[in-house]
């Protein structure tokens, strides 16, 4: 019978096609070489540690090679993230940390992996000390995000003027890595929103150890959502002017608005409430008009989906790395793919929640870690690694200070901390 033969053929066809066998795994030797920043070339490493993490197994090998910037190690083939931590001292200068990393390298054969290194430089400007991007929940359990805010902190020992400081949002998601073309990550951050603190230069001084609260909407949100916060005391707010009732923002006339340079959306700018983007600060010496005219660009990529790769385009602004003051990559463990900024700007990420759409993320923020006290002034960690520098998934400072609601059950905050973990009494 003809069709039975056809059936047999059909049964066997899938069997025939299952032949892409992978050779058995065996170890390969790789050489890891740290490429030092120029000023360090020729200087010996004082301490030197390599961390080699297999992304599929999660296993990490730590190798210490004090005095050397290179190491050879035998690993099984796979996908790796390699980090380097070391210290070095330039003639007559204090000890500086040297970090290097490369993420998501596929190792299948003996090879040399080079890690571009950088030294942590203390930022002589405001830094981001907190991002509250998750928002709160309303009494019914629906989300509310009008109460998002940033806190900027003066981590130095002198007054910093906030005037002209630009807050930006990355164009790319940390949970989506594609073959972006052109790839400018080593020289610039691709951004889709730029909002500047107003002022002509010396209007907004920030004393050492003081911070600025920058809110989306600087009002008492408890009028709308009893579980939310009072942000009417914010120093600035970002107000998105709209004439359409379909999307309206609210302006508190008593709180100065940020100067909206550019935003990708016609509606209102909200922070990514699962935290898939990077947020940062920049100083743009050339000013708004010159920057806006010269830095718009188009990036092509292929969107990789289960149904194949699809050519796509994004457009945004490129912000040269040397203008970036501080940047914080946000992501979540289950979906993290890459840092959307150069490792010299940020070599780690911080988070609220651990899985995608984590319902416990609401009422939480990321807060920069307490490092030390210099007299009364609190010094916060700043090693350009958000993973190290931030306490992830902690109670926001404004919730602590206002003793407001911390979760859907209606429980309220009782303690005040410096960084979400360290008690304030310390």
């Amino acid at each position: 019978m003809k069709y039975i033969r056809l059936l047999i053929l059909l049964f066997t066809l899938p069997l025939l096609s299952c032949s892409d066998d992978v050779p058995a795994a065996s170890s390969v030797d790789i050489k890891i070489v740290v490429e030092l920043p120029e000023q360090f070339s020729g200087h010996a490493a004082e301490s030197s540690t390599f961390h080699i993490t297999n992304l599929s197994t999660g296993n990490t090998i730590d190798i210490t090679r004090n005095g050397s910037y290179a190491a050879t190690v035998s690993v099984s083939p796979g996908l790796y993230t390699i980090r380097y931590d070391g210290t070095a001292t330039l003639d007559g200068a204090p000890e500086v940390a040297i970090h290097a990393s490369v993420s998501s390298v596929t190792i299948s054969a003996p090879t040399t992996v080079s890690l571009p290194a950088y030294a942590t430089v203390e930022t002589d400007d405001l830094i981001i000390s907190e991002i509250f991007f998750t928002g709160t929940l309303q009494t019914s359990g629906n989300s509310y995000n009008g109460d998002q805010y940033f806190k900027l902190y003066n981590n130095t020992d002198h007054v910093i003027y906030a005037d002209g400081l630009v807050i930006f949002e990355s164009l790319f998601l940390t949970t989506e890595k594609f073959n972006y073309e052109p790839n400018i990550i080593n020289s610039a951050v691709s951004v889709d929103a730029l909002y500047a603190i107003p002022g002509s230069g010396k209007n907004y001084p920030v004393a050492p150890g003081e911070s600025l609260l920058i809110a989306d909407i600087a009002i008492d949100h408890r009028t709308i959502n009893p579980n939310s916060l009072d942000l009417s005391h914010a120093d600035f707010e970002w107000y998105d002017v709209s004439t359409s009732p379909m999307y309206t923002d609210i302006d508190n006339p008593a709180v100065p608005n940020l100067d909206k340079w550019y935003c990708y959306t016609q509606t209102i700018w909200q922070l990514h409430d699962r935290g898939f983007k990077a947020y940062g600060l920049a100083r743009i010496p050339e000013g708004k008009d010159a920057f806006m005219a010269a830095h718009y660009y188009t990036v092509d990529y292929e969107n990789i989906t289960v149904a194949g790769a699809f050519p796509m385009t994004k457009r945004g602004y490129w912000l040269p790395n040397d203008m970036v003051v501080d940047v914080v990559n946000l992501s979540i463990e289950s979906n993290y793919q890459w840092n959307v900024t150069d490792p010299s700007l940020d070599s780690g990420y911080t988070y609220c929640g651990t899985i995608n759409n984590d319902k416990t993320r609401y009422f939480h923020s990321v807060r920069r870690k307490f490092l030390a006290k210099d007299g009364d002034r609190i010094v916060l960690a700043d090693t350009n690694n958000s993973g190290d520098d931030f306490n992830p998934f902690v109670v926001p400072s404004e919730i602590e200070l206002q003793k407001s609601v911390t979760d859907i059950s209606g429980a309220t905050a009782s303690t005040v901390t410096i960084d979400g973990i360290t008690p304030a009494e310390q």
Partner: protein
């Protein structure tokens, strides 16, 4: 029934009273003398009977007398024998002859029409074997289609001779309203009366609710049960000029009107359950009239794991066919009363979703009456038939939304229903929103048709058809009913509207058609030529369409070559072709759209000290008439060429077709310049107010802005071409199997036919670009899709075992889709400064704001995406057990062959899930 009961009773009494004679018999298969168990034995004229046991033996007690004994067994010829029963007991041997060679085979597939146009005919036997849940499932038998899993979570629309809208991944996306004309333009005719959907207005706001409502999309095939259908004819080619107000094709449904025993059907599959019971009886003094009645219930889950979303259908139907005969005229009158209810429900799971209350329910309850009166004049040749059709339907539609709305921030609700300046208010906090769309569409249809012979030359025959029809559609519903202060979302801008305010839509039609059959030598030529005239009556004079009749000329012709012998078989060849224009009038929604409300915020002052008392929102509202008076009907131009061959019982039909429609309906965005007064509240010190700020005290600036609304346009193009083929082979006796090969190659181009305004979303230096500049792009926003498939159906029929078994190999050889190349440079731009169009020149391209109108497309976007071969095997079986039970089962995609393929260097894996079910059919 009563009489029968009396008879049995009297028989029973008689048996008791008199001495009975015992008749013992055995029923054997004539071919091998094997006993036939459970064979039905009946004694006439007495109304008694019995069944044989496992050894084929039966026993009966009878009074002496003359009787006829009847034996019947599935797969065997009926047996009858006269017996004279005396006082002595009798032994009988009944040998039954297998009916294998005499039973006509059941046709379990669609048959290609032998008439002048290309059409597929699906009969009851094919439907029974297919085991459909709704009309949608029948389309699997059409050339170009393969079996699909049921999708009861959205409207099921028909598409003929096209690939359908494909997404970039080559998968079907059914929700593109720009090409609704595909299904809207297909006419569904049930027993001579069209299903009118023109007054359907069910929607949420101004948009169809995520594919859940059939606004402007024609007939929702989910609501059509197949259980009382006798046959379906799906006209893919050029329909007869008799039928109007259609653009792509038509579906002719003929329902059962004959005496049938009680039949009951129970179907269950992974998604749904179906129950049906029906019966047809002969009525009237001479038993020439029929009365059929049936009820059905269908309950489906969209996802078998989800109890919160389901679709139900309840149908009840009473149909009668009455006949009178006089010496001059034969009268046939078909009348029917029908009730159909569909309930589409969906809720969110409060445990899985942040939103605790979110319910959707859409009910449709339709009652209809259909009458078809046919007078056949036997003695007149110029007037052979006069047909009068009438139908009326009334539906009660309720679409309800019950939703907890929790704005993510303070939002503004515009609540005025008049134009001008007024205050709105902030929505502060959560609330429960209730939305109702109440539609009561009424449709009345009438048609008169005359037909008769026209004298013609020797040997030729010529018939004419002449008639007119009228459809009135009107909605009497209260329409959208909701509280403007509690809209369904924080970004709500439309307003309630009563459907009863919308005028009635009157579609008038008239037609003339001539059918000629002429022998030319040994050849035969059949020509069917006619015109259909469609017009909208009673429409406001401002409409371009008003008072304009649209003429659809349609011609179909077949040339049949003389039959010849090919070996031992007789062969016939034919060539056919057709050309026709097909016009579909716009629906009530397209012609009488809701007014477009444009609300512009002039003042947005939120008082931080006392938000509930001292805030003020000032809105200027413009009301635009969204009516497009220039709207024209959608017209589809079709032509086709067909080749048909028949060798013995083998049949082949190959059709090439082309269709072009350049004026399909779509909603386009219309931009305009609107003035407003922008107040500056930045000088207000919060806490200083004792009430909302007065407008007079605030500084302001008079300015203007670009805003848009939707308007129906003839803006869509659909170009179809393709080849359809069907091959039926003769049954191959040794394995009792016949092969049917159907398939098609389709190439469909979906595109816009007018330039498009496309806003950009960039906000530069605090100013939204599209508030001031919107580009007009001479662009093509559609896709070209091609697909090629072939289905091989092996059907094996063993009448002696009561078994029909089909194995279908469904091969989708490839599906390709390519986005039409777009140019991102606008040809012109609209400016809010003067509301005028300006050419987009190089100076504009370098302007700091206007440069954002230059759109950029990744060139790879326009590459062709190909999905390679996908093969599936479907099995279906029907087994008749005894006299009254038939069991059927099916498994779709029991085997699949879905090879991996690469897309831009990326490996793509595919998988499919089997879909299976079974059913029991009882015939009592």
């Amino acid at each position: 029934m009563k009489r029968r009961l009396l008879l049995s009773l009297s028989y029973l009494l008689a048996t008791i009273a008199s001495y009975a004679t015992v008749i013992t018999g055995v029923v054997l298969d004539m071919s091998d003398d094997s006993p036939l168990p459970a064979c039905a034995i009946a004694i006439s004229p007495l109304n008694i009977g019995t069944q044989t046991d496992l050894d084929g033996v039966f026993t009966l007690d009878l009074r002496p007398g003359d009787y006829i004994i009847k034996a019947s067994y599935v797969g065997f010829k009926p047996y009858e024998q006269a017996i004279a029963v005396g006082s002595k007991d009798m032994n009988l041997i009944i040998r039954m002859q297998s009916a294998e060679n005499v039973l006509s085979e059941v046709v379990v597939t669609a048959q290609e029409s032998q008439g002048p146009t290309s059409a597929s005919r699906i009969d009851r036997a094919a439907m029974q074997h297919l085991q459909p849940s709704s009309f949608t499932d029948l389309l699997e038998l059409m050339p170009g289609n393969i079996s699909q899993n049921p999708n009861m979570g959205g409207v099921n629309t028909i598409k003929l001779r096209e690939t359908g809208n494909l997404s970039a991944t080559g998968t079907l996306s059914s929700d593109n309203p720009d090409y609704d004309i595909s299904s809207l333009g297909t006419l569904f005719n049930v027993d001579g009366a069209p299903i009118s959907t023109d007054a359907n207005m069910q929607s949420i706001g101004t948009t169809a609710a995520n594919g859940r409502t059939s606004l402007n999309r024609g007939v929702d095939m989910r609501s059509l049960s197949t259980d009382n259908i006798e046959s379906v004819e799906i006209v893919r080619g050029i329909p007869s000029a008799e039928y109007g107000n259609l653009s792509s094709g038509m579906v002719n449904i003929k329902r059962r009107r004959s005496a049938t025993p009680w039949t009951a059907r129970f179907k269950a599959d992974g998604f749904s359950k179906l129950l049906y019971a029906g019966k047809g009886i002969l009525v009237g003094p001479s038993k020439t009239n029929t009365l059929n009645f049936d009820i059905g219930w269908f309950d489906s889950k969209i996802d078998p794991r989800d109890n919160l979303e389901n679709f139900q259908r309840i149908t009840a139907s009473v149909r009668s066919s009455l006949h009178w005969r006089t010496s001059d005229v034969n009268i046939d009158w078909n009348i029917a009363g029908d009730f159909t209810a569909t309930i589409d429900k969906s809720k969110v799971d409060p445990d899985l979703s942040l939103t605790k209350i979110d319910e959707y329910k859409s009910d449709h309850k339709e009652t209809s009456f259909t009458s078809g009166l046919s007078l056949n004049f036997e003695k007149l040749s110029w007037l052979e038939n006069l047909d009068v059709n009438f139908s009326a339907s009334y539906a009660d539609d309720r679409l309800e939304r019950h939703l907890q709305v929790a704005p993510m921030r303070a939002t503004v609700a515009p609540s005025t229903t008049t134009a001008g300046v007024h205050d709105g208010h902030y929505i502060l906090g959560e609330y429960i929103a209730d939305y109702l769309a109440e539609g009561k569409p009424v449709s009345i249809y009438g048609k008169v048709r005359l037909s008769g012979a026209i004298p013609s030359w020797q040997g030729a025959r010529q018939h004419y058809k002449l008639g007119a029809d009228w459809t009135l559609s009107k909605n009497y519903g209260r329409g959208q009913v909701y509280d403007l202060d509690k809209p369904l979302s924080g970004s709500w801008t439309s307003r309630p509207r009563a459907f009863s305010d919308i005028p009635a839509l009157n579609v008038a039609g008239a037609f003339f058609e001539d059918a000629l059959t002429a022998p030319i030598g040994a050849n035969t030529l059949e020509v069917q030529a006619g015109v259909h005239l469609t017009a909208l009556a009673g429409l406001d004079k401002r409409y371009y369409i008003s008072g304009r009749p649209y003429l659809d000329p349609r011609v179909n012709a077949v040339w049949r070559f003389p039959a010849f012998d090919l070996g031992s078989r007789q062969a016939e060849l034919q060539i056919a072709g057709g050309y026709g224009l097909n016009t579909r009038m716009p629906t009530a929604d397209y012609l009488f759209p809701q007014e477009a409300f444009l609300d512009i915020l002039q003042l947005n002052y939120y008082d931080t000290a006392n938000p509930t008392e001292n805030s003020r929102v000032n809105i200027r509202t413009y009301i635009n008439d969204a009516t497009n008076y220039a709207l024209r009907p959608a017209r589809n131009q079709k032509w086709e060429l067909r080749f048909g061959a028949q060798v013995g019982a083998n049949k082949l039909s190959v059709t090439y077709f082309q269709e072009h429609m350049g004026d399909g309906f779509r909603y386009s965005t219309i931009y305009g310049n609107y003035d407003y007064r922008l107040y500056d509240p930045s000088g207000i010190a919060p806490g200083s107010l004792t009430g909302p700020p007065s407008l007079e005290s605030l500084p302001y600036r008079d300015t203007s802005i670009l805003r848009s609304f939707r308007r129906a346009e003839n803006g869509s193009t659909i170009d179809k071409k393709g080849i359809e083929f069907t091959l039926n082979t003769a049954r191959w006796k040794p394995v009792a199997t016949a092969l049917t090969v159907t398939g098609a190659w389709f190439r469909t181009r979906y595109s816009n036919s007018m330039m498009l305004f496309e806003p950009v979303t960039d906000v530069v230096d605090g100013v939204s670009v599209s508030d001031h500049y919107v580009g007009l792009y001479d662009t093509a926003d559609g896709r070209i899709n091609t697909q090629f498939n072939t289905n091989f159906m092996f059907d094996t029929q063993l009448p002696r075992l009561g078994l029909v078994f089909t194995t279908t190999l469904q091969c989708m050889w490839y599906v390709k889709t390519r986005r039409l190349t777009e140019d991102g440079r606008p040809t012109a731009y609209l400016s809010s400064e003067d509301g005028q169009l300006h050419p987009y020149d190089d100076a504009a391209a370098n302007d700091p704001m206007l440069k954002y109108l230059l759109k950029y497309y990744n060139p790879g976007l326009f590459d062709t995406y190909t999905i390679p071969t996908a093969l599936y095997v479907n099995l279906k079986a029907t087994k008749t057990i005894g006299r009254w039970l038939r069991v059927s089962a099916f498994v779709n995609r029991i085997i699949d062959y879905l090879p991996d393929y690469t897309s831009n260097g990326l490996k793509v894996r595919r998988n499919s899930e089997a879909y299976f079910g079974m059913e029991l059919n009882f015939t009592l």
